[in-house]
Symmetry: C2
Subunit: 170 residues, 2 copies
């Protein structure tokens, strides 16, 4: 089965992001707005129990973390994804690093750029238009995230939560 690990930001931020995704993100219906901590990886039913125990241990060694959503950005020229940039912090980077070093799954193809997608699979023209508009609106938002989730993917592409891990709590 295909698994992934994400953080969901606050409802307030998810609502804002969805107001854009509705129009600009074809994955809008597959998963609520999120920060990807570990990209899709394969795991068996047996193996995932070990993974889940590991995640539980690992989550206790961290603490709830402040995130700062600082601006609208784009992955161009790599692709036409527009996103809210989440400022990297040592805490976020350490968690991301451990999710790769401690768990099965391939090494990430790109370095970790924490973000919340607001639009993707856009044509070049759409991309310039929308990026231009959204950059002018901008974003500057801080909040604390105290949990992350392990999800699995259904055949239709939709994601279901398998388990929640709270940061730092015992």
């Amino acid at each position: 089965m295909k698994y992934g690990i994400v953080m969901f930001p606050s409802k307030k931020l998810q609502d804002l992001v969805n107001s854009y995704r509705k129009r600009y993100d074809p994955h809008y219906a597959l998963i609520p707005p999120h920060i990807t901590l570990k990209h899709v990886f394969e795991s068996s039913d047996d193996e995932i129990k070990t993974v889940s125990r590991k995640l539980n241990q690992l989550s206790k060694q961290h603490h709830p973390m402040k995130i700062h959503v600082s601006k609208v950005s784009t992955f161009q020229p790599v692709n036409n994804t527009i996103y809210f940039k989440v400022e990297p912090t040592p805490e976020l980077e350490q968690l991301n690093k451990e999710l790769y070093s401690e768990l099965p799954g391939e090494e990430p193809e790109y370095s970790f750029v924490p973000h919340i997608t607001i639009g993707q699979k856009l044509s070049n023209d759409e991309h310039s238009d929308i990026y231009g508009q959204l950059s002018m609106v901008g974003i500057d938002h801080e909040e604390v995230i105290d949990r992350f989730h392990l999800l699995y993917q259904l055949e239709n592409g939709q994601w279901t939560v398998y388990e929640t891990y709270r940061l730092g709590e015992e």
Copy 2:
């Protein structure tokens, strides 16, 4: 914020249900296939922390439970929802009962009919057609569910998981 409590069945069953929901359920994109344990209730950010602690305690007093999905059924004449019937068991009924008696939220309007929706908001003609077809295909499936989830609803109707509770584990 609006909260609800659900169980997600296995990926296999979710995939089967989605193959129908895709065509017959306008809520298809809002949440993966599920069994509702407690209908939508309002709770504040503060109150939900108490609710979550309560759910954690409560989940430990139960055990993973076998569910038997026994047939295709309909809520007609109450409404045109078509669903996979989940046979009621004392375990499932007890959990449902406690989620109402121990937590905030109004008493349920109808008695607990555990089910997984496969179609809803159908016209009368669609309903008879689809119900006739699906009844002939039928379903007979058993599995064990070992967790449930507390979710909150976004402004667009989409549901995000807040927390996962594992049944019976300490």
